[in-house]
């Protein structure tokens, strides 16, 4: 079963992150690297990506003639995706356990961040309703 594990933050969260000490940043980067390696070594890794800064985000809508209209105005409360992991596991419980690991990534002062990770199932292409 495939699940996506998503880490998000408001612009304020991102701005705080940018102000962490060098040591805290290093610990977090090291943790993320080790976490990714764990996923690969245990054979559950499918994909992972980190996304660009919210300041560079654009919202695109189709104009009258199908042209792309872009703007970068978002509400303060908007949660911006920071990154995701897609894993292939035996059960939702296994996915939640792994998400808890990601959530424990160290934050300021090296303490476990406890950042919430959204877990959603990735729909498969399976087509069998037994009809």
């Amino acid at each position: 079963m495939r699940f996506i594990l998503m880490m998000t933050g408001t612009r304020a969260n991102w701005d705080e992150y940018a102000k962490w000490s060098k040591e805290d940043l290093e610990q977090n980067v090291a943790f993320m690297r080790a976490f990714g390696k764990e996923l690969k070594d245990s054979g559950v890794f499918v994909a992972t990506e980190g996304l660009g800064w919210p300041g560079e985000a654009k919202m695109v809508r189709a104009g009258k003639n199908g042209e792309a209209i872009t703007d970068g105005v978002f509400p303060e409360s908007k949660e911006f995706l920071a990154g995701y992991w897609i894993i292939d596991v035996e059960s939702p419980e296994q996915a939640y356990k792994i998400a808890a690991r990601a959530s424990a990534a160290p934050g300021p002062g090296g303490k476990p961040g406890g950042i919430p990770i959204e877990v959603r199932q990735v729909l498969s292409g399976h087509a069998d309703l037994g009809l």
Partner: protein, 418 residues
């Protein structure tokens, strides 16, 4: 299909790829179909050779199999095309013919490169096609290297071949007047392949074809074909001199800048080779941008320690380079060199010219350099702001992490002082 090929067979097939494609294209005059046929022949070889042994005439074998695929393909289109005469015996004859025509192999490979790097193709298409047709990489390897699914890369290559077909580019060496321009296009594509490999060497990667090594390998082929061309020598030298530092670029930190690299890890043999190539090329007179960039790399590589770097030399070389090219990256690097020789204020002044340059697409590089120079001139508050701006605009995770840590390092210092 064999999961992992015997390295010698894999190597042999990679080398043979362009040498098989060229005669087939020449005979059948259909690049796209020929490329498919050669791919099939290579796949057949990967299945049969480990089992039955490498044939006595591997190239002939591949040409024969590819030609048979071509005639099958043509026969099935006989209603639409008027080439019924092409038969299996032709294929046999062709295979024997090319056996004795060793001299044309070189010209063929050059033609192939010119075709794959045709200016009508987008850089991404040219890169993919070159790696496939000349490099002999599989679609899967190329896809892996560029982080796209295999089917996507297959489609990209297919469309590139279609472009060539539609543009009616003939499979022949360009005229003497076109040749210089077309060779520049080839060098540019190989330069891009090298950079892609080099830039991606920071940080762990899934198993993938090593693009830098492949670029150097293809560059050596071009150099063998055009040994008297100084820009060809210059680009090969540049690749060797840059690649020589590879082992020192990655460490526990994902990105180790030049000034902090452990120079004991640099490949001295590669540096010596690069310098030899450059020394032979420079006196010939036609000094171009690749030679200049190689010369700059050589000056860096010759410094035993960072503090021994001959910055005035580097500045002079960038000044020459600036006259040849208005590439904003050169302006950026020139500003850094100027700062090292005349002080950071001078460098910062030069950066201002780039603020309004629309061609500097990756603005984070400008902000990163500005931050570095501001730090050098003691303006830490402004440096922190610029490092953070650069970080927020970074296009890669290693770059973002690095820039954030520079901001954090300075910020920690300020906090400690308070």
């Amino acid at each position: 299909m064999a999961d992992r090929l015997d390295p010698p067979i894999e190597q042999l097939l990679r080398e043979m790829a362009p040498q098989v494609l060229s005669p087939v294209v020449r005979r059948f005059r259909d690049f796209a179909a020929a490329e498919d046929a050669v791919q099939e022949a290579l796949i057949a070889a990967t299945e049969q050779w480990p089992r039955d042994g490498v044939p006595a005439n591997p190239r002939g074998w591949l040409i024969q199999v590819a030609s048979r695929r071509m005639t099958d393909h043509i026969r099935s289109e006989v209603a639409r095309r008027r080439r019924e005469q092409v038969a299996a015996e032709e294929a046999e004859r062709l295979a024997l013919q090319v056996e004795g025509a060793a001299e044309t192999v070189d010209d063929d490979t050059l033609e192939l490169l010119f075709m794959c790097c045709h200016p009508a193709l987008t850089p991404a298409s040219a890169i993919a096609l070159t790696l496939r047709a000349v490099g002999g990489l599989t679609t899967a390897e190329i896809a892996n290297a560029f982080l796209v699914p295999e089917a996507t890369m297959a489609q990209r290559i297919s469309r590139a071949k279609q472009s060539i077909k539609e543009s009616g580019i003939p499979f022949q060496l360009p005229t003497a007047e076109d040749r210089a321009q077309r060779l520049r296009a080839v060098l540019h594509v190989l330069y891009l392949i090298f950079n892609e490999g080099y830039a991606s060497s920071a940080g762990p990667q899934l198993r993938r074809a090593d693009l830098s090594d492949e670029a150097i390998r293809l560059m050596r082929i071009v150099y063998d074909l055009q040994p008297d061309n100084t820009e060809v020598a210059g680009l090969l030298a540049l690749m060797l001199l840059t690649d020589a530092r590879r082992a020192a670029r990655t460490g526990p930190e994902e990105l180790v800048p030049l000034a902090q690299q452990n120079r004991a890890l640099w490949d001295r043999q590669q540096i010596a080779e690069g310098i030899a190539l450059l020394s032979a090329a420079l006196p010939k007179g036609a000094v171009g941008p690749y030679q200049l960039q190689a010369a700059i790399a050589a000056v860096h590589d010759e410094a035993a320690r960072t503090e021994d770097t001959d910055w005035p030399q580097i500045l002079a070389l960038y000044e020459l380079l600036k006259h040849m090219s208005d590439n904003p990256m050169i302006v950026l690097n020139h500003a850094v060199a100027a700062a090292m020789v005349h002080g950071p204020r001078k460098g910062l002044e030069l950066l201002n010219a780039l603020d309004s340059d629309p061609r500097l697409a990756e603005r984070h590089r400008l902000e990163a350099v500005r931050a570095h120079l501001l730090e050098m001139s003691g303006e830490h508050e402004a440096a922190i702001t610029n490092y953070r701006n650069a970080a927020s605009r970074a296009t890669s995770l290693p770059e973002r992490n690095y820039l954030m840590m520079q901001a954090a390092r300075l910020s920690d210092l300020r906090r400690a002082d308070q």
